[in-house]
Amino acid sequence: MTEPAPVLEIRSLEVIYEAGRRRRIQAVSDASFEMIQGETLGLVGESGCGKSSIARAVMQLPPPTSGRVMFFGEDLTRVDRLRLRQLRPRLQMIFQDSVAALNPRRKVGETIAMPLRVAGKVPKEKRNKRAREMMSAVGLDPALFGHRPFQLSGGQCQRVQFARALMTEPGLLICDEPVSSLDVSIQAQILNLLERVRIRHGLTILFISHDMAVVKNVCDRVAVMYLGKLCETAPTEALYRQPAHPYTAVLINAIPMPGAPLSRPEMRAAAADLPSSIDPPSGCRFHTRCPVARARCAEIEPSLETVGPCRQAACHYPLCNG
């Protein structure tokens, strides 16, 4: 048996934004990971850590500053524009702001049928029929076909996004904080929907979130980011059972746990505030807030190293080993 080619492979990805005069923000630096068919990878981290930048770099919106994005073995950063346009429908994304993600001037049904219209050659009746089917599949009343986005609730808009994304039968679905602006009850509905369509369409999903609890429920594998760098990747169960990177531990600890006493009070972020990403701290970027930092951490930047089966961490003093 040959090993299946990874759906997505990212190598040394770097994203730099120009922010005004001589200010450069390194949103992502040297990120590498891969995703295999049917896998759900969670990408977690606090705001501004570069999660969304990775997602956009994968979509080539805009292309990364450097590094490679291999999609089914094809490097998206190298292909020409026409090929990119052909490939893009296979890469779909669900945005956090579901209202902004839908054209306010277009009817919901038309939005869902849009992928077929762009691809062309599908007559209008057939497009609309498919759209209605897809609406039922994502739990939207087909009667909403003629509505406009502002007439729908946040949860419904999110469903529309799913429906639109699924129309192209994507090879990779990127969900950028799909539930973080929703209420718990709606959040649960959407997460269940995600689970359902994942199984039904055999989706490979890159799931971006800042909510550790949600990630725990959704993902097979988790990658933790801090200030543009990956600091730990591990299978979900292992990560939550025993985090290797202190930052992961801090994140898990920050989840309020009713009933249980705060598990490890010492694992709290030392300083409350995130340093600026314009000039990140030297050495390990987390050392300014790390509860277990030592002198070496401020000087030498740790690289991502294997610390257990299928898991890597970028820490000089990982909390668990092997």
Binding site: S185, L191, K216, P256, P258, A272
Partner: protein
């Protein structure tokens, strides 16, 4: 959780039959209805509910900060410090606003004036209500910033909000709220806009402040876990009404209203394997548009009975008198 000895002590705030009317395109709808609760000094009341359930309007109505299209129902009462807040003139309400009840808002970026230095914003109530001189107010502002954990307070007073991070801004907002030594602090989703790690620190700060100065606090949140861990009593709101008032420790285990349980169940659990389905509540909360007959949750409730659709359930308490719920068909109390 709190000692039951001082139950006879007069409450800091007593709200009775609070209703908020909203004028929406010519129609008047009740977005908050029949809300009653008491809050003692040094205690924290958590108000949880989904967006649109009226918790924010409830808080704002107490300070007379309702938007122009909303008004407090005429029969509502809210006694604070022996005065009915809803019957105060604007000028006496202004006195209450700073020195009696202070408020912290959800988004620290938008709740601080972007074109004023934070020092000026802290000094304003000091000068206006306490009659301090500008110089004295400034040194007091520095002290306040210190006390809420802002490092380098002397320099920070001359900074503008945009020069600070989200967590720092929320600390500044807390400092402003504390400036005149209020007896009651209303925190409306104070951590929703913040990162998880910062969220914990801010909640810690609030608890510390409250414990230190024995103020009462109303903590509004949509996160049941926050409410359960950071308050003494939790009021769960649905469609403008409080459906359950329960001590925080019992929230996740001894709830009696199906809606509360549904909310608890919908939270992703840390102890379950990936891809496990969640208990979602189907449907959507009702909007403020239509009149509701019976229990507002009945259409989504799996325990709904005939009566639920016909009559609105009143608040009842259990034997202890501390657990109140509004349900015709409550969940049986599990055996201890």
């Amino acid at each position: 959780m709190t000692a039951s000895k001082d139950a006879v002590q007069a409450p800091l705030l007593r709200v009775e039959n609070l209703g908020v009317l909203l004028q929406n395109e010519g129609r008047v709808v009740r977005v908050v209805d029949a809300v009653s609760f008491r809050l003692k000094q040094g205690e924290t009341l958590g108000i949880v509910g989904e967006s649109g359930c009226g918790k924010t309007l409830l808080c704002r109505s107490l300070l007379g900060l309702l938007p122009g299209c909303a008004a407090v129902a005429p029969d509502a009462k809210a006694f604070f410090d022996g005065k009915d807040l809803f019957r105060l003139s604007e000028s006496s309400l202004n006195k209450v606003r700073a020195a009696g009840i202070a408020m912290i808002f959800q988004d620290p970026l938008s709740s601080l004036n972007p074109v004023m230095t934070i020092g000026r914003q802290i000094c304003e109530p000091l000068v206006h209500h306490l009659g301090m001189t500008a110089r004295k107010a400034r040194s007091r502002a520095v002290e306040l910033l210190h006390s809420v954990g802002v490092s380098g307070a002397e320099q920070r007073v001359d900074h503008y909000p945009h020069q600070m991070s989200g967590g720092m801004r929320q600390r500044v907002a807390i400092a402003i709220a504390l400036s005149c030594g209020p007896k009651l602090l209303i925190a409306d989703e104070p951590t929703t806009a913040l990162d998880v790690t910062v969220q914990a620190a801010i909640l810690d700060l609030l608890m510390r402040v409250q414990a230190g100065s024995k103020t009462g606090m109303i903590l509004v949140t949509h996160d049941l876990r926050v409410a359960a861990t950071r308050t003494h009593e939790v009021a769960v709101m649905y469609a403008g009404r409080i459906v359950e008032r329960i001590s925080a420790g019992a929230l996740f285990t001894h709830m009696r209203v199906p809606y509360t349980r549904a909310l608890v169940d919908a939270i992703p659990k840390m102890d379950r394997p990936p891809h496990a389905p969640l208990h979602a509540i189907e449907g959507r909360p009702p909007g403020p548009a239509g009149a509701i007959y019976g229990c507002a949750f009945a259409p989504r409730c799996d325990r709904a009975i005939e009566k639920c659709r016909a009559r609105t359930p009143p608040m009842r308490s259990d034997r202890s008198g501390r657990h109140w719920y509004a349900c015709w068909n409550p969940i049986q109390e599990p055996a201890p």
